[in-house]
């Protein structure tokens, strides 16, 4: 007898119990007997042998303790199956596959109402999986983009806007595919469950050829999109690793001290223990820049001004996305007590949008020009005075000029 292994791509989803059982039975009559079913890579391995009428049946996972019991089904389930003429073959997609070539063996499931209950358990698992994908996306967002953008109101929108179309789209599409896959499974299981709940048995001889092409097209599309999503995540991670810190003087983006010092004829002095740049550049349309809690001194004729600033700078793929980013940042007024601070429009600046508000500690300026958005929070004061040393109309035009659009 030959021991050759033959591989086949399933023509139907594993959760379509009727089609899968029918397909496996048909292949057994051609001499192909299932050895393994891989859900992740989506193929089945068969052992070529004698053509033999064989019944295949799928049941919901029998492990009572869940995954903690290991990959094998509950020993009692195997013992009962063997006692009644059935053999365990493999597990795939939350289902166990059993077979028998004994025509006298009773059906694996003889009570449709009870079988419907076991499928309901699979439904709950699928819903859990959908929630898991969402949590994973949130954790990834948090991991890749840091907490600063994520936790503010509108943060996730801001992240997507900052990502632009290049990396955000595959991630969103990939997630949509994973969700759609779960949705299809829920729909398919619900259809079979309804049938069973009405006391009807599943059709073990269903024509699995119907819908075969549609299923393959869907699997191909979802595989490509899932791959694109994983590639995007990897690319973003590599981009994050490439983020670097460098001295303020070398920064390409405008920093507060240099233009202000020039404007005021002052001498800037940085506080190196505080001043670091963090610049993350994934590609041209994906550029984020952040300076948080930066400190510097400006020595002027009137005295030394202490500057404390915080910049969030985003360059997006399109002006529309930068508008979304600006809107999200405008709504991301943190510090609860000041979240109702009145937002005022600033006119006369070289920008498409310009807003300002007081967050209780300092003045915030939000600028958008073309694809660029900058949110700057500046606190400036003389040593003996906590009032703003530099009014907005001094530093806002300087900042607006630095945005190229």
């Amino acid at each position: 007898m030959t021991k050759r292994t033959v591989y086949r791509i399933p023509p139907c989803p594993i959760w379509d119990l009727e089609a899968t059982e029918s397909w496996l039975g048909d292949l057994a009559e051609q001499g192909l007997h299932l050895k393994r079913m891989h859900s992740l890579l989506d193929f089945a391995a068969f052992q070529a042998g004698l053509a033999q009428p064989t019944r295949y049946r799928l049941t919901a996972d029998s492990r009572r303790g869940g995954l903690t019991n290991g990959p094998q089904p509950d020993p009692e389930a195997v013992q009962l199956a063997q006692a009644l003429g059935w053999q365990y073959v493999d597990r795939c997609g939350g289902l166990e596959i059993w077979r028998t070539d004994d025509p006298a063996a009773p059906e694996l499931n003889t009570d449709p109402a009870l079988q419907a209950l076991t499928l309901a358990r699979m439904n709950r698992q699928t819903l859990g999986q959908m929630a898991g994908y969402l949590v994973q996306l949130l954790l990834n967002s948090l991991f890749f983009f840091g907490s600063a953008l994520f936790w503010v109101q509108g943060g996730p929108i801001l992240i997507l806007a900052a990502l632009g179309l290049w990396a955000g789209l595959p991630i969103l599409l990939g997630l949509a595919v994973l969700w759609a896959d779960c949705g299809l499974r829920l729909w398919g299981l619900a259809r079979q469950r309804r049938k069973l709940a009405h006391g009807r048995e599943l059709d073990h001889k269903k024509n699995w050829r119907i819908g075969k092409n549609r299923w393959w097209v869907w699997r191909g599309t979802s595989a490509v999109l899932t791959f694109a999503m994983l590639a995007s995540i990897l690319w973003l991670q590599l981009g994050s690793e490439a983020a670097y810190t460098r001295p303020l003087e070398e920064s390409a983006f405008p920093l507060m001290p240099a233009p202000l010092a020039e404007e005021l004829g002052a001498e800037p002095k940085l506080r190196p223990e505080y001043n670091t740049n963090r610049m993350t550049s994934h590609s041209d349309p994906l550029f984020t820049y952040r300076e948080a809690n930066q400190w510097a001194y400006l020595r002027t004729a009137q005295g030394t001004i202490t500057l404390d600033w915080d910049i969030t700078y985003i360059r997006t793929a399109t002006p529309w996305l930068s508008h979304q980013a600006a809107t999200a940042l405008r709504h991301a007024r943190r510090f609860g007590a000041f979240s109702r601070a009145e937002v005022q429009t600033v006119s006369g600046l070289a920008a498409d949008e310009a807003f300002t508000w007081d967050n209780g500690f300092s003045t915030v300026l939000l600028l958008r020009r073309g694809r660029e958005v900058a949110r700057v929070q500046l606190f400036s004061h003389y040593a003996d005075d906590t009032a703003d040393a530099l009014p907005l109309d001094v530093w806002a035009p300087l900042l607006a000029e630095r945005l190229s659009g």
Binding site: S62, E76, L80, L84, P106, L108, T110
Partner: protein, 104 residues
């Protein structure tokens, strides 16, 4: 949807519970008993039997009294016996209703 306790026994469940009223036994013995008692009229598959055993154990209708390798032996509990008696009474009433009589 929240899990609900058993309200009504299906025919198969009733027969499985009936098997355990005969004394402690394993699942395969219960299947053999049902086959013999019904003359094969009520088929019971291994997956169905396994699901019922799990459900009955959870509902405390039966309890595991012995484990020998992969084979588990169960015994009916007082709660299980009460459920069986209640279902039996309900079925008797059904038959009586059908025959136009009163409660037996």
């Amino acid at each position: 949807m929240p899990k609900q306790p058993l309200v009504l026994l299906t025919e198969t469940m009733f027969y499985v519970l009936m098997a355990f009223t005969q004394g402690p036994m394993c699942g395969a013995d219960a299947a053999a008993f049902i086959h013999q008692r019904t003359g094969g009229r009520v088929p019971i598959g291994p997956a169905t039997l396994y699901t019922i055993l799990g459900k009955f154990e959870k509902e405390q209708y039966i309890t595991q009294v012995e484990m020998e390798g992969r084979k588990r032996t169960y015994a009916i509990t007082a709660k299980g016996r009460a459920a069986y008696e209640a279902e039996l009474a309900r079925l008797r009433q059904c038959v009586a209703d059908a025959e136009g009589g009163t409660t037996p």
